[in-house]
C-alpha cells in the first residue's frame, strides 16, 4: 500500500519546475533589458528548481550529483562573496544575498546527505538505504528549514516587493537604519516596470517574491524530510 501520497511530491516537483521556468524567462528579460541586478538569484533559482524537482520525483532527475554539487558550491561561494562585499560596503547588516547562500548550502547538504527513499517511491536522491546512508545532523537541517521558512514569511510580509531578487541596499539604511537617498542596487529605471507590458507582468516584483516563497517552502519541506 502506498501511504505517502505521491501527488504531494508531484505537486512540489511541478512547482519547482514552474519556478525554474519562470526564472529562465526572467533571465531572458534581464538580458534583453540589460538589467544589472537579480540575475544571480534567477540563475540560482533555475538550478535549484530543476534539481529539487528531481529530488521530489525520481524520474525527473537528470545530471550527475557531482555536477549539481559543483553548481551549488559555485553559487554558494558567489553569494558569500557578494554578502561580504555588501557588509564591507554598507557596514554590518544582513545582506539579502545571505539567504541565497543559505539556500545553496542547503542544496549541497541534500546531495551530500541523500534522503532515504520513502514508501511512495516518488522520492529520489536515495542511492543507499536510510539505515546505511550518512545522515545530516538533524539540528542543522532543522535550523536551515526554520531559516528558509522564516524567509518565506518575512518575504511575503515585506513592503519592499522584489527585494529577494534585487535587494534593498540603501547605503544609509544599511549603515544606520535611517532614511537615505541613495538608489538601491535594483538600479532605478532598469528594474521591473521599466520595460513593456510583458516585462511589467512577468517581472512583477510580487511574482519574483512568490517564486522565492515557493522555493523556500519546498526547501523547508525537503530539509524536514532529511531529519
Amino acid at each position: 500500500m502506498t501511504t505517502t501520497p505521491p501527488w504531494l511530491y508531484y505537486l512540489f516537483a511541478t512547482l519547482m519546475l514552474a519556478v525554474a521556468a519562470y526564472d529562465i524567462v526572467l533571465l531572458l528579460l534581464s538580458g534583453a533589458r540589460r538589467r544589472l541586478s537579480g540575475w544571480d538569484v534567477e540563475i540560482s533559482h533555475v538550478f535549484m528548481g530543476m534539481s529539487m524537482s528531481g529530488m521530489f520525483v525520481a524520474q525527473w532527475a537528470f545530471g550527475r550529483n557531482a555536477m549539481w554539487e559543483l553548481i551549488f558550491a559555485v553559487l554558494l561561494i558567489w553569494f558569500l562573496v557578494r554578502s561580504i562585499q555588501s557588509v564591507q560596503e554598507f557596514g554590518l547588516h544582513v545582506p539579502h544575498w545571505m539567504i541565497h547562500a543559505v539556500m545553496n548550502f542547503a542544496m549541497l547538504l541534500m546531495y551530500w546527505y541523500p534522503i532515504g527513499s520513502s514508501s511512495s517511491g516518488s522520492m529520489s536522491m536515495s542511492v543507499s538505504s536510510p539505515s546505511t546512508a550518512a545522515r545530516v545532523d538533524p539540528g542543522l537541517a532543522f535550523l536551515l528549514a526554520s531559516t528558509v521558512l522564516a524567509s518565506a514569511v518575512f518575504t511575503l510580509a515585506s513592503p519592499n516587493k522584489g527585494a529577494t531578487h534585487h535587494g534593498t541596499h540603501f547605503r544609509v539604511y544599511a549603515m544606520t537604519g535611517v532614511a537615505g537617498s541613495e538608489p538601491s542596487d535594483s538600479n532605478l529605471g532598469e528594474g521591473p516596470g521599466s520595460g513593456g507590458d510583458v516585462d511589467r507582468v512577468v517581472a512583477a516584483p510580487w511574482l519574483e517574491d512568490m517564486s522565492h516563497i515557493v522555493m523556500c517552502v519546498a526547501m523547508g519541506f525537503m530539509l524536514i524530510l532529511m531529519l
Partner: protein
C-alpha cells in the same frame, strides 16, 4: 527600523517611479512578533506533510493521536479515539486538510487583510488540537508538566493569537498590552505562569521517575548524538533530583509571574530568567519537540513561551529610534 520606499508621481511624464527616498519608520513590533508566530505555524504545516502523517496504523498519525487518549477520563478518551478512527481509515483525506489549515493560518497571519481571520482560525484550531491531538494536555490525569509542554504546547498558540491580535496603540509598557490593555495582559501573564507553577508540582510533574521517563520516551534512537548525550544528563538529573528540580521550576514560574508587576529593569531580569529556563527545557527535556527525531508535529511549548516572554519585554527607547522618529517627522513636514 524599516525602510519604506516612497513612490511618487513624476509630474513631467506622469509615470510612477519608485524613488529611493526612504523614511525610517519605527518597527511595528506587534507585526514582527506575528510574523514569528506565522513562521512557527508554517513550520507546523510543513511538519504535517511528513510521510508518516499520511501513514495508517500505529506508526502513523492516528497512532500518535491514539497515544494521547491513554490515561484520560473515559469521556475525553472516547472523543479522541472517535477522531483517531476517522483518521485511521482516511489518513490522506484527513491529514491533507489539516496541513492546508496550518498553511492558511501561517500565510494568512502575514496578509494585512487576512490577519484577523487567520488568528481567529488559529485559536479554534489550537483548541481542537489541544483536545484531540494532545489529549487536553494531560491535565485531567496529572501528566501535564511544563517540562513536557503542559498544559499543552498548542494552547500557547491561542494565547499568542489573542495577545497579538492587530490593534493600533502604544507598545508601552510592552507589546502584549496593545490589544488587551495593561491589566488584562498582566493578568494573563500572571495566570499563565501560576498555572505552570502549579503543574510543576502536582501529579506526575514532581515524580522523579515520571520526569525521567518523559525524557527517555522522546529518545527513539533517531536523535543526534549530541542531543542523546544531553538527554542522558537530563534523565540522570531527574532521576536523582526530580522533585527538587520540579519545585525549583515552580519557584521560577512564580517569580516570572510577579515580574510584570515590578519596575521595568526587574521585569526584564525575570523575562531573561524565563527565556533561559525554557530554552534549556526546550533543548534538554522537550528535545525541540521531538522534531530532530523525525516524528513531531510541532516544536512544543519552548519557543512559544519564549515568544510570549518577548512580547512582555518592556521596550527601551533608544537614541536611534528617537532620531529616526525625528527624521521621519522632518521628512513628512517637508512633504507637507
Amino acid at each position: 527600523m524599516t525602510v519604506a520606499e516612497v513612490t511618487e508621481r513624476a509630474p513631467a511624464r506622469g509615470a510612477r517611479r519608485s524613488v529611493s527616498t526612504a523614511i525610517a519608520q519605527p518597527r511595528d513590533l506587534q507585526r514582527t512578533f506575528r510574523l514569528v508566530l506565522a513562521t512557527v505555524w508554517l513550520l507546523d504545516a510543513v511538519l504535517q506533510i511528513q510521510p508518516f502523517m499520511f501513514t495508517r496504523g500505529s506508526n502513523g498519525f492516528s497512532g500518535m493521536l491514539n497515544a494521547s487518549a491513554q490515561g484520560n477520563p473515559r469521556w475525553i478518551a472516547h472523543t479522541i479515539t472517535w477522531n483517531v478512527s476517522i483518521i485511521y481509515h482516511h489518513p490522506v483525506l484527513t491529514n491533507t486538510p489539516f496541513a492546508l489549515i496550518q498553511f492558511l493560518i501561517g500565510f494568512g497571519i502575514v496578509g494585512k487583510r487576512t490577519t484577523k481571520p487567520a488568528l481567529a482560525l488559529s485559536i479554534v484550531w489550537a483548541l481542537a488540537v489541544w483536545w484531540f491531538g494532545e489529549g487536553a494536555g494531560g491535565i485531567f490525569h496529572g501528566a501535564a508538566t511544563p517540562f513536557g509542554g503542559g498544559p499543552g504546547g498548542v494552547l500557547f498558540y491561542a494565547v499568542l493569537a489573542v495577545l497579538l491580535w492587530p490593534s493600533e496603540g502604544s507598545n508601552t509598557p510592552f507589546v502584549a498590552t496593545r490589544t488587551v490593555g495593561v491589566s488584562t495582559a498582566r493578568a494573563i501573564w500572571a495566570g499563565m505562569w501560576a498555572v505552570l507553577a502549579l503543574l510543576s508540582v502536582v501529579g506526575a510533574g514532581r515524580s522523579p521517575q515520571a520526569l525521567r521517563d518523559l525524557v527517555a520516551g522522546l529518545n527513539n534512537g533517531s536523535q543526534p548524538g549530541w542531543l542523546a548525550h544531553i538527554d542522558r544528563s537530563a534523565e540522570s538529573l531527574f532521576l536523582h533530583h526530580g522533585a527538587t528540580t520540579a519545585i525549583l521550576l515552580a519557584v521560577v514560574c512564580l517569580i516570572v509571574a510577579l515580574g510584570v508587576f515590578l519596575p521595568p529593569q526587574i521585569t526584564q531580569a525575570t523575562l531573561v530568567l524565563a527565556i533561559v529556563v525554557f530554552a534549556i527545557i526546550w533543548v534538554a527535556v522537550q528535545n525541540f519537540g521531538g522534531i530532530l527525531a523525525g516524528g513531531a508535529t510541532d516544536p512544543n511549548s519552548g519557543p512559544l513561551v519564549i515568544l510570549l516572554a518577548l512580547i512582555y519585554w518592556p521596550p527601551t527607547i533608544t537614541r536611534a529610534t528617537s532620531s529616526a522618529i525625528a527624521s521621519e517627522s522632518a521628512v513628512l513636514a517637508t512633504d507637507a
